[in-house]
């Protein structure tokens, strides 16, 4: 058996061998294939046509429940034990198996199609052949074109750019396309692993060996940019790629209800065993006392004594009472989840018309968990924000420009017309005309302001056609600022290492670029020194307000005060601010400085420090120009959604790779961090070691003290901002509990500069110790690990990358749909599932317990109470549809009320609707019902007769009476549980009852008996007993006796302890007040500075290399090398400013 299982396991699953070293030859397929490396197809389908039936059956019988029913069926083949005909188990089992098989097959087909769709991109493989991605093999040389996705890990050979910046030059100098054909390089490298920052290998070409490192590979998931084409050798394909290796194991997610159900099923097995034991003992006693003397009419079989009889009756009762473990449970659960998933797919309110993206339930097995979410982990960029920066407001020389009102709604003020400016970006929007006028009037400060923006940056211009300018900005902030300057008439047009050409109010001016004082995270500012055509040398500086203000000339004090006022306002609105300043330089001083700068930059020791000193020296006594405020545009409805979710008692943690300032800013603009919070703890160490961590640790311990004092309840709101390095420290074993406790006490937790791995770690931490249901939402490849780690992963679809969506369980286009997914779909799914389970267990227990009671009256002989056909059809036909109707259509309150009272969500978080307690209550209820359902008919027909004196106390009539009572009671109970009566529900309930009577009368008819004599022995029973008034009076009595106590109990419960649902249903709560617009906030204690810029670009723009239009793909991430090398290759794309101008007008 074991070997068969392992054989099937191999056939259906498959194992892989460990790889030591990867060895491949370029374009030598036979050689490479000999190693059996994974090709680029990522296989998600499980079966093929031939393996489907055996594999699927194998899979299905691995399920405990199905195996159990198979065992039961085998048991029924033993005549001494068989208490039921074989079909009572076989029919349901076959039905269940075939339904599951159909579902599995359709799932498999869907995933296969999905796979095809994703992989259908064509790619050129050298040899003039075009191949589908999935057919690409390790060692193939591939040509990629601009803006194409890289879908395998490639070793870069050459690109269209003549001088390759980051490509192993030695190889490519001689590489023309022709040469590539005959290229016979041999690559040896490390086996597949998940380290994104490391690649080690060697390339042997013409006898020479070159070492390869991380700079020379292109990873799957990136997009090719800034080059027409490039060639690469596939090193890792499909599942071996670093991205796939890094995306974590795809674990089969199961809901907490699944786990609970498994526990319950085990309990039920135990319960079944104990019931059977009781009955078997009863049988033994009966055999000794009665059976041994009843032998006159029922002689014993040879050699059967009381003990053996009791043993056999144990198994007979296992067969009869098997309905406590309902076979159709799993199938019904799957159907319900599938249905509720379809509702998500179909929901128009989660459909985003802008890019035609409907919401999608990619997993159909997790629905009810959506109603139990306690923690949400959200990515920032692309999830909370649109990743679009807009130049929103500015303060020039003490005067504020830009919108004053309606932060989120742009209508009301007219869009500024920039048509006077030939080079203006048509997508740029601004709503304050006075600024344009000021600039055009020739206001010197305003002009200097925009001149600074046009000159002080590291943006690369691209002008394909005359007048059509494109900016390649390293950070979206810069892009926004330079574009703003462009529209206000200071157009940055082109640059060389020594010059910057700008068009200032239609006049082309070329500045000589003397120095770029580059940005870094400590300096928090950047400066350029330029010489104007007139020969004036000026230093332009932009940077964090706090930093700039320290370096201002005392004469600016007054202006500084005013500007600080403006900055506070901007910060309060969550805008990202930069202060701008300039300084005219003395030529002679500059010469001297330049000399020293040159010395410093060529110094072998202490270069950084010396340069910093020099920068410090020149960047002082600056003259303030003003400040800019850039809006990191939130997605629509983000603050409202967060507010709603917070009301539903869901905690939201933001995990982002961005900088602390940026993250904090978003925290404020989403209303997650608020000025009125008691305190916001910032734990931000810069390196993984050193004193700052100790400080951070001290901070944590301090926090811990406050926590132990005030325990779980803290008065006042706290916020926690923690960065990646501190997090790495805090995630260590001994500190993680403190971190968790602290974080859980805070209203808001923001983790910034975290790596994808850390995101997953945080999620796992909460998952492990809080026993709460978590949800992770993100859009990028760096969120994949977190999405997979959380109980439920949600991907934002419709963006460029698909990785997050592909590994997610649910996907939709906008963050704001999350509230509908949780508060409406999740809540309903949970409610429905719980109602279903409660009802289902109730229905089956009641059904089964009646047999138990009857055992005491039939000598424990495993005589069933009901007709065998009724037993067969009870779960499958008579009661299947009404409960499905309940669990597909039921709503306690409609979606509008669900939104208005997010508190309705909390019962799900607390597991109130279905738990072990609820299950026990279910059992007690069934116990009561079954007592009624057995003893009332028993007493009612005891020694009685029909109205014509004939028999009615016979077994068949009693069976019919008992089963009719049961079915009526079950239907009435279902009616009682149904809150939302659609026509379908009515149809199912009445239809089921009608079907019961129709089927019963048919099966008990003459015709059926004449055709299948031995299968339908109940002939005539229905006719003879259902025309008796006392039979109907009994049915009526049992039904009411089962239902009325429940009604009374529920009614009194509603009066005594109304739940929030009862209140809302009664609409006794006052209608909620309309939402007030958020009050205007003025920040008093923090800087709104945020600038997602990284170091190193200053050198680039002044070096000659940039002429080659640097390939940005490997430097696009918001992480810098030093901060989180893990993320370097992550595909993160910044769009240039205001790509979608309609965006802000969406409803």
């Amino acid at each position: 058996m074991g070997s068969v299982a392992s054989y099937f396991g191999q056939l259906c699953g498959g194992e892989e061998k460990k790889e030591e070293e990867r060895h491949l030859r370029a374009n030598d397929r036979p050689f490479n294939l000999s190693y059996n490396y994974a090709n680029n197809a990522i296989k998600t389908s499980k079966y093929n046509i031939f393996s489907f039936l055996p594999c699927n059956l194998f899979e299905q019988f691995r399920r405990l429940a199905n195996a159990y029913f198979l065992f039961l069926m085998l048991l029924q083949l033993i005549p001494q034990v068989s208490s039921l005909s074989w079909f009572t188990t076989a029919v349901p089992l076959i039905l269940v198996l075939s339904m599951t098989a159909v579902k599995d097959a359709s799932d498999d087909i869907v995933s296969r199609n999905c796979n095809l769709k994703n992989k259908y991109l064509n790619n050129s493989v050298l040899g003039q052949k075009t191949e589908k991605w999935k057919n690409v093999q390790v060692g193939d040389i591939i040509k990629l074109e601009n803006n194409q996705f890289v879908t395998a890990d490639l070793l870069l050979l050459s690109s269209s750019e003549p001088l390759n910046l980051c490509v192993c030059v030695c190889v490519c100098v001689s590489c023309t396309a022709d040469a590539n054909l005959s290229l016979s390089g041999e690559v040896r490298c490390e086996p597949p692993n998940n380290r994104l920052d490391k690649f080690k290998g060697t390339l042997t070409l013409d006898g020479q060996t070159y070492s390869l490192d991380n700079d020379k590979v292109l990873l799957r998931g990136c997009t090719l940019r800034n080059t027409e084409w490039c060639f690469g050798v596939v090193v890792f394909g499909g599942p071996d790629t670093k991205l796939m290796q890094n995306s974590g194991k795809t674990t089969f997610k199961r809901t907490s209800i699944d786990h609970l159900m498994n526990v319950l099923v085990l309990c039920i097995f135990g319960f079944l065993a104990s019931m059977c034991t009781v009955l078997a003992i009863g049988n033994g006693i009966w055999e000794v006392r009665e059976g041994s003397v009843f032998t006159v009419f029922l002689p014993r079989d040879e050699g059967v004594n009381a003990a053996l009889s009791s043993f056999l009756s144990f198994w007979s009762y296992v067969i009869i009472l098997n309905t406590v473990v309902p076979i159709s449970l799993y199938v019904s659960v799957e159907i319900i989840r599938l249905g509720n998933s379809f509702y998500i797919d179909w929901d128009r309110k989660m459909y985003y018309p802008k890019n035609d993206t409907p919401a999608q339930a990619r997993t159909t097995t997790l629905n009810e968990e959506l109603g139990q979410i306690k923690y949400i982990f959200s990515d920032k960029t692309g999830t909370l924000t649109q990743n679009i920066m807009t130049f929103n407001r500015c303060s020039i020389n003490g005067k504020a420009y830009g919108e004053q009102l309606c932060l989120y709604k742009n209508y009301g003020t007219e869009r500024v017309d920039f048509s006077w400016n030939r080079l203006a970006d048509p997508k740029f929007m601004f709503h304050d005309y006075s600024l344009v006028e000021t600039v055009r009037e020739g206001n010197l400060e305003a002009q200097a302001f925009f001149r600074l923006l046009a000159l002080c940056h590291t943006v690369m211009p691209e002008e394909k056609k005359e007048g059509e300018l494109y900016y390649q900005a390293q950070s979206p902030d810069e892009g926004a600022l330079v574009t703003a300057a462009r529209n206000f008439g200071f157009v940055f047009r082109s640059r060389t290492p020594e010059t910057i050409t700008a068009v200032e109010m239609d006049r082309s001016v070329t500045y000589e670029l003397l120095a770029v004082l580059d940005f870094n995270n400590v300096r928090k500012r950047m400066s350029v020194i330029v010489r104007s055509p007139e020969g004036k040398v000026t230093l332009f500086c932009k940077g964090a307000d706090t930093i700039i203000f320290e370096r201002l000339h005392p004469s600016c004090n007054k202006l500084k005060e005013i500007t600080i006022g403006h900055l506070n306002e901007y910060a309060g609105d969550g805008l990202r601010t930069l202060a701008l300043a300039y300084k005219d330089l003395d030529e002679r001083y500059l010469e001297d400085w330049k000399q020293r700068h040159h010395e410093a930059s060529t110094a072998m020791e202490g270069r950084e420090e010396r340069l910093d000193e020099l920068y410090e020296e020149i960047e002082k006594d600056l003259l303030l120009l003003g400040a800019t405020a850039v809006e990191d545009k939130l997605q629509d409805g983000v603050p409202q959604t967060i507010e709603q979710l917070a009301k539903a008692d869901i905690k939201i943690w933001v995990l982002t790779g961005d900088k602390q300032e940026t993250a904090e800013n978003i925290g404020y603009s989403c209303n997650m961090l608020r000025e009125e919070m008691r305190d916001i703890f910032v734990v931000a160490a810069n390196t993984a070691e050193g004193p700052s961590v100790i400080k951070a640790r001290a901070g944590l311990f301090w926090l811990q003290r406050t926590e132990t004092v005030q325990d779980e309840k803290v008065d006042g709101d706290y916020g926690l901002v923690i960065n990646g390095h501190s997090l790495a420290f805090a995630l260590e074993k001994n500190l993680q509990m403190e971190l968790l406790r602290t974080a859980c006490m805070c209203q808001t937790v923001i983790c910034c500069r975290v790596t994808p791995l850390q995101k997953a770690q945080v999620v796992q931490l909460v998952k492990k110790y809080k026993q709460a249901v978590t949800l992770a939402i993100g859009d990028g490849a760096n969120d994949v690990s977190m999405i997979k780690a959380a109980h439920i992963g949600v991907g934002i679809s419709g963006q460029e990358g698909m990785q997050a969506v592909l590994s997610s369980d649910y996907s939709f286009a906008q963050f704001r749909y999350l509230q509908r997914l949780l508060l409406v779909h999740g809540r309903w799914s949970y409610l429905r599932m719980c109602k279903f389970l409660r009802y289902f267990f109730y229905k089956n227990f009641t059904f089964t317990f009646v047999h138990f009671w009857y055992a005491f009256f039939c000598g424990f002989s495993a005589q069933t109470v009901y007709d065998e056909w009724f037993i067969t059809l009870y779960n499958l036909v008579y009661t299947a549809l009404p409960v499905l109707g309940l669990s597909l259509f039921d709503q306690d309150v409609n979606d509008r009320w669900s939104f208005q009272y997010p508190q309705l969500y909390t019962p799900g978080q607390l597991n109130l609707y279905f738990s072990k307690k609820a299950f026990v209550r279910c059992m007690l209820h069934s116990c009561y019902s079954s007592l009624i359902l057995f003893f009332i008919p028993w007493a009612a027909i005891y020694d009685t007769v029909r109205d014509d004196g004939k028999d009615i106390a016979d077994y068949q009539s009693f069976a019919l009476l008992a089963q009719t009572c049961l079915l009526v009671v079950m239907n009435v109970q279902l009616c009682l549980d149904t809150d939302y009566w659609t026509a379908v529900n009515q149809f199912f309930v009445w239809g089921s009852l009608a079907a019961y009577f129709a089927v019963t009368f048919t099966m008990y008819s003459n015709g059926m008996f004449l055709i299948f004599t031995s299968s339908f022995p109940f002939i005539g029973t229905a006719r003879n007993s259902l025309n008796q008034p006392n039979v109907w009076l009994t049915i009526f009595l049992t039904s009411l006796l089962c239902i009325l106590p429940v009604v009374a109990f529920r009614f009194i419960l509603i009066q005594l302890r109304p739940t929030i649902n009862d209140k809302v249903r009664k609409e006794a709560l006052p209608a909620p007040t309309p939402r007030r617009p958020p009050a205007r906030r003025i920040s008093t204690r923090r800087s709104g500075y945020a600038f997602s810029h990284s170091q190193g670009y200053g050198d680039l723009v002044t070096s000659r290399k940039f002429l080659q239009r640097l390939p940005l793909w490997s430097r696009q991430a918001p992480f810098t090398q030093t901060d989180s090398p893990l993320a370097q290759n992550q595909p993160q794309h910044y769009r240039t400013i205001a790509e979608e101008p309609e965006e802000s007008q969406s409803p």
Binding site: F294, W346, P353, T944, F958, N985, K1066
Partner: protein
Amino acid sequence: MGRTKKMVKEELANRPDNTAFTQQRLPAWQPMLSAGIVIPGFVIIGLAFIGIGVALFVTSQSIQLLELDYTGVEQTSPCFKCSDPNAKNCMCELTFSTDTLFKGPVFFYYGLSNYFQNYRSYGVSKDDDQLSGNLDNFKSPSDTCAPYEYDRNNKPFVPCGAVANSLFNDTFKLYQIVNGAKKVVPLDGKGISWWTDYNIKYRNPAVTPLKNAFNGTVKPLYWSKPAYELDPSDPANNGFINQDFLVWMRRAALPDFRKLYRRITDGDYAEGLPAGNYSLQIAYNYPVLSFEGRKKVVFSNVSWMGGKNEFLGIAYLVIGSLCVVMSVVMLIVYAKFKFPEEE
């Protein structure tokens, strides 16, 4: 927006349908357990139950019932002599009297106690095909009939199985004692089984004479006469459609049961049994003492609600009263704990 309609259509190709079903907006009735429904509901149900209960109880009370145990356990019992298992063809006589007219039609039942006709292996021990006249099953009965499938000589039992084998074989004659003389009370044994049993479920094979169908078979072990000679007085009442056989084959649901033996509908007794003394002559054949079973005869008349059963009437009365009480309790609770509107 400036787009043509067609373009919009194309662009929104993935937009879900706007139907009440997909958007979960199906019109629905949302009943609630409000005080206005529940409390009056309980009152109405309670009153209705009390009404039904009274009717049932009165009806049940009006039914006359006479039970006579003749097992012969007690020494005083006239049938004590027959309780000896060795006694063959034992007859005993039971006398009883009625003070008033026992209203007709009177039904004459025999009752058995502690008799497990509902024991599973007993109940399945029969062959429906054989009993519906299938001659193949005469030759080879279904193996469900075990242990009464074949006799020692490997000849098939017809009818086979434990149920048929254990056919109740006590017979009764009822006399009214008028002025010391015995006057026979005619007993009607026609149509005492279900119509469907007599006409459809049980059929004799289409062989005449019936006896020939039973060639090569043996009568059940406990039977004194073969199936085709069960009722010598009426040739149509033989084989599998013998009324007593049919009544017996409809096995009881519970270990204490009664089965219809005869009806008293003819002659002087069509109006019922007049007050007076009666004598019941019993041919005591059926052994029940070995398993502490009891045998009795029951005379009863019926009403629209069937035989005498006080349970239903009492249950309706009790539950009806409880409903009324409950409604009062709920009213009090409702009045006391009504939703505080201001919350």
